[in-house]
C-alpha cells in the first residue's frame, strides 16, 4: 500500500529523464511515425539499434524495460502467427516454404511477422522510454497542456483538461488507499469477495462501491470549496511555478530523431530503387 507508485516512472538520472517533457512527447510521436515508416531489413536493423541506444541512454535496467513488454506477449505472438500463416506471396515465382494440406508458409510471411514484432517492440519500448519511464505523470500533463495550448483558439478547454488530469493523479493513491480501508471494514463485517458465483461476487462489491462513491463525491465537494478559497477561477490569468524550458539537449535529441526519420526514408527510397534485401 505504501509502496504504491503511479505509472511506471523509474527514477534515474539520465539525459532522457532531464529532457523537457514537451520535447519527449514530440520525440515519442516521431518515434512511432519512424517505426511505421520502416519498410525493409536495413531500416528495421536501424530501428533495433536505435531502441537499444535509447535503453542505454535512459539507464533503466533491461529487466524493467522488458517487464512492460511482457504484458504484450500474447498480442505479439498472435499477430506473428497470423502473419506467418495468412500472408500469401502473389509475386511471380514465389514458392511456399511449407505446403502441407491447408498450411502454406511463404518466406514473405516470416519476414512480415518478424518486422511486425520488431515494430511493436520498438514502439512500446520507445514511447515507454520517452514518456512513462522517464517522465512523471505530472510533467507529462504539463507538457500536454503546453503543446495543446493552440487548441484553446478553437475553444478546446485545454486548461480544464489538464487540471482534471492533475487532480486525478493527486487523488488516485488516496482513493486506492480508501478502497483498501473500506474493503477491510466490510471484511470485518463478514463480506466475502472471493467465493460464490459471478453474480454473487458482483453483488458483494456493492458495499465497497457505494461508500467509495459517497466519499469521492464528498472529497470532490470539499476540494472544490478549498480550491475556491484559494482563488481558483479557471486558467485565465494564472501563472505557473514550473515553467517548461527547452535546453540544448532537447534540440539535440529532436535533431537526432529527425535525422533518424530522414535516414529511414532514405533507406526506403534507395531500398526500393536498388532492391535491397527484403521489402515489406
Amino acid at each position: 500500500m505504501k509502496g504504491f507508485a503511479f505509472g511506471q516512472y523509474y527514477p534515474a538520472n539520465s539525459v532522457l529523464h532531464r529532457m523537457d517533457p514537451r520535447a519527449k512527447v514530440i520525440c515519442a510521436v516521431a518515434y512511432i511515425v519512424a517505426s511505421f515508416l520502416c519498410k525493409n531489413t536495413f531500416s528495421f536493423v536501424l530501428l533495433i539499434l536505435s531502441t537499444i541506444a535509447l535503453i542505454l541512454l535512459s539507464r533503466i535496467p533491461m529487466k524493467v524495460v522488458l517487464r512492460s513488454v511482457r504484458a504484450l506477449i500474447f498480442i505479439m505472438a498472435f499477430t506473428a502467427v497470423l502473419n506467418i500463416f495468412w500472408i500469401v506471396d502473389t509475386s511471380e515465382g514465389a514458392v511456399p516454404l511449407v505446403d502441407f494440406y491447408f498450411i502454406t508458409i511463404y518466406a514473405k510471411g516470416i519476414y512480415h511477422a518478424a518486422f511486425i514484432l520488431i515494430r511493436i517492440l520498438a514502439m512500446v519500448i520507445g514511447t515507454g522510454l520517452f514518456l512513462t519511464y522517464t517522465t512523471t505523470p505530472i510533467a507529462l500533463t504539463d507538457a500536454l497542456e503546453s503543446l495543446l495550448r493552440p487548441l484553446t483558439a478553437i475553444k478546446v478547454p485545454v486548461h480544464a483538461f489538464s487540471m482534471m488530469m492533475t487532480i486525478a493523479l493527486r487523488f488516485i493513491p488516496t482513493i486506492m488507499e480508501e478502497t483498501e480501508k473500506i474493503m477491510s471494514a466490510q471484511k470485518a463485517r463478514g463480506a466475502d469477495f472471493t467465493t460464490g458465483s459471478l453474480g454473487r461476487r458482483a453483488k458483494a462489491l456493492i458495499p465497497i462501491i457505494v461508500p467509495l462513491f459517497a466519499s469521492a463525491f464528498r472529497r470532490a465537494d470539499e476540494l472544490a470549496t478549498a480550491m475556491e478559497c484559494r482563488c481558483y477561477h479557471g486558467g485565465e490569468g494564472r501563472t505557473k511555478l514550473r515553467i517548461l524550458r527547452y535546453h540544448v539537449r532537447d534540440f539535440v535529441a529532436m535533431f537526432f530523431v529527425a535525422l533518424f526519420i530522414g535516414g529511414i526514408v532514405a533507406i526506403n527510397i534507395f531500398g526500393r530503387k536498388y532492391g535491397w534485401l527484403y521489402t515489406m
Binding site: 472529497r219 478549498a226 480550491m227 484559494r230 482563488c231 494564472r238 505557473k240 511555478l241 515553467i243
Partner: protein
C-alpha cells in the same frame, strides 16, 4: 483605521434551505467584531453553526436565500449583491481558510506546486512566485519536503502544507475550520505551534474553530457558539469561569480549570487565570503554602 475592526458582523442570521424549501436556521442574530492581529478561538459543538460562520466570511457558501444582517471584512460589505469578481478574489486572498480534512484540500502531486496553487491563481509572476513558495514552506517548516508527494506525508505535515498554500497568498487573516480534528496529538501540536507562530511573528489575524478546550486555552480570545447563538465572548480565563454555560453548550472545561473551580467552591481559594496544568499547580501550591 485603528478603531475599525477587521471583521465586523452585525445581526447576522443564516439558514440553510431545507429539502422542502423551508429555512433551517443555523446562525441567529449574531454580532461580533474581530480586530486585526487577534487570535480568536470559536468553540461550539458539532452543528453549532461555527463552520457556517467561517464560510460566510469567505463567501464560499452558495446559497444566500436566508442570509440577513451584515458582514464587512476590511470595510468590504461581503453580502452586498453588487460585489465584483475582483472583490471576491481580493477577499479570499485576504482571508485564507484551512479545512478539516488535510487530504481534501491539496490539489497538486508535488508539495511545492500545491503551495504555489493559490499565488498562481492570483497571477503572481516569477521570480516572486518562487520566493513566496519557498518562504511559505520555510515558515511551516516543510522546506525539506518541497519535492515530496503530498499523499505520503503524515496528517500534520499535510496540514502544514495546506497552511503554507494559504500563507503564500499573503493573507491578513486565516480561518482554521477544525484543522486539527483529524490529527493525532503530534500532528495537532505541529499545527498549533504553526498557527501561533503565524499570529505572533507574521501578525496574521487567526480565527480558529475547534472543540478542543486546550486549544482555546492558548488563544487571546474565546467565543462560544451554541445552536447559532453567541453564548460567551472573552479571554479564555473569563470564558472558562462560566462552566455551566459551557456544559450547556456541549463543551468540557479543561481538566485543570475544572479542578481549580471545584476547589474554590470547596473553600480552597485557588486564584488567577488557570488554563494549563502549570498555572493550576502554581495556584494550588500557593494556597497550600498559605495554610
Amino acid at each position: 483605521m485603528e478603531n475599525t475592526p477587521f471583521i465586523h458582523i452585525e445581526n447576522l442570521s443564516y439558514s440553510y434551505v431545507g429539502e422542502d424549501g423551508q429555512p433551517i436556521p443555523v446562525l441567529k442574530n449574531l454580532s461580533l467584531d474581530i480586530r486585526e492581529g487577534e487570535y480568536v478561538v470559536i468553540l461550539g459543538h458539532n452543528g453549532s453553526g461555527k463552520s457556517t460562520l467561517a464560510k460566510l466570511l469567505n463567501m464560499v457558501l452558495d446559497d444566500y436565500t436566508f442570509a440577513e444582517g451584515k458582514i464587512t471584512v476590511d470595510g468590504l460589505d461581503v453580502m452586498s449583491p453588487d460585489l465584483t469578481d475582483g472583490d471576491v478574489l481580493n477577499l479570499r486572498k485576504n482571508v485564507g481558510m484551512v479545512f478539516q480534512n488535510p487530504d481534501n484540500q491539496l490539489v497538486a502531486t508535488v508539495v511545492e506546486e500545491d503551495v504555489a496553487f493559490g499565488p498562481e491563481n492570483l497571477g503572481i509572476p516569477q521570480p516572486e512566485l518562487r520566493t513566496r513558495v519557498d518562504e511559505a514552506l520555510a515558515t511551516v517548516g516543510m522546506s525539506a519536503y518541497a519535492r515530496h508527494e503530498p499523499h505520503r506525508l503524515s496528517g500534520g505535515q499535510k496540514q502544514r502544507v495546506a497552511i503554507a498554500g494559504i500563507i503564500a497568498m499573503k493573507p491578513r487573516c486565516m480561518i482554521f475550520d477544525e484543522s486539527t480534528a483529524m490529527l493525532d496529538p503530534v500532528g495537532r501540536k505541529e499545527v498549533l505551534e504553526t498557527i501561533e507562530k503565524l499570529n505572533r511573528d507574521e501578525g496574521i489575524t487567526v480565527i480558529s474553530i475547534t472543540h478542543y478546550m486546550d486549544e482555546a486555552a492558548r488563544a487571546d480570545r474565546v467565543i462560544v457558539l451554541s445552536d447559532g447563538h453567541l453564548m460567551l465572548d472573552g479571554t479564555p480565563g473569563e470564558v472558562f469561569t462560566h462552566s455551566d454555560t459551557l456544559r450547556k453548550a456541549g463543551l468540557d472545561l479543561p481538566q485543570c480549570t475544572a479542578v481549580s473551580q471545584y476547589l474554590t467552591t470547596q473553600g480552597i481559594p485557588v486564584c488567577g487565570e488557570i488554563n494549563t496544568p502549570k498555572q493550576c499547580a502554581e495556584a494550588i501550591l500557593n494556597a497550600w503554602g498559605r495554610i
